[in-house]
Symmetry: C2
Subunit: 140 residues, 2 copies
């Protein structure tokens, strides 16, 4: 179980923007500093603009900045927007299909996962973590 690279890059960019105190950040500098593909970063940024999380500035200063306060954006809405269309699993090809208790179970587990992300703002997530928490599913 893994977030898409799209979501990973999007969260990194939004956290950097949340720490930039509203100041615009150049995507070229962000991509270089984070050693990410500029092409991929630019695509994620386009998506974040379309979804209303960031605004893009033209001209010499250029760059992107948050469209609203980091206090007014939850991590949950960002993940929903960037993971849109992803499935935790795909019942459609399964002969068990709806005749299976796993589907509502996974839906409940996913709701619990999202409830935690909905409860935290980008401003909170941008704060340095106390520890580098284990992300390995096996470590949970």
């Amino acid at each position: 179980m893994q977030l898409t690279q799209h979501t990973d890059y999007g969260l990194r960019l939004l956290i950097v923007l949340a720490r930039a105190d509203g100041g615009p950040v150049a995507l070229t500098e962000f991509a270089a500093e984070h050693r990410l593909s500029y092409h991929h970063v630019a695509k994620v940024a386009q998506k974040l603009v379309r979804e209303g999380f960031i605004v893009s500035h033209r001209g010499r200063s250029g760059g992107v900045s948050l469209a609203r306060s980091a206090d007014a954006i939850t991590v949950g809405e960002v993940v929903r927007a960037l993971e849109k269309g992803m499935r935790l699993a795909d019942c459609s090809g399964c002969v068990l299909a709806s005749n299976c208790g796993t589907s509502p179970l996974l839906a409940r587990a996913l709701a619990a996962f999202m409830a935690v992300l909905d409860g935290e703002t980008l401003a909170q997530a941008a704060k340095p973590g106390l520890t580098h928490a284990p992300w390995m599913l096996a470590a949970v």
Copy 2:
């Protein structure tokens, strides 16, 4: 965010075995009925044997069956065993690394997700679902 195909196939096999009332199921028949690659199913079954969830029977009857009661297996332990080594995201290459609140946040969200799966047995998951719940993340 998506469970691996490995976990998907593994859960399907375990649910079929939980419904088989302890009777062995031939992997060839399971793969054919579910229109899955026998090679992939056999690999998942080997893993489930190693992890102590199923036992394999030799001879004409052959097949695999649950190693213990479906009441004594939680969906959480199955997902942990099959997703082992997967990461929700990978901080290792990120310059923010541990200096980021997203890591503990995702760990908390993942713990909430697993808590739901830990609270349900394979026997419960094997029961027909009332509805075909939305698995689209955006639908949560």
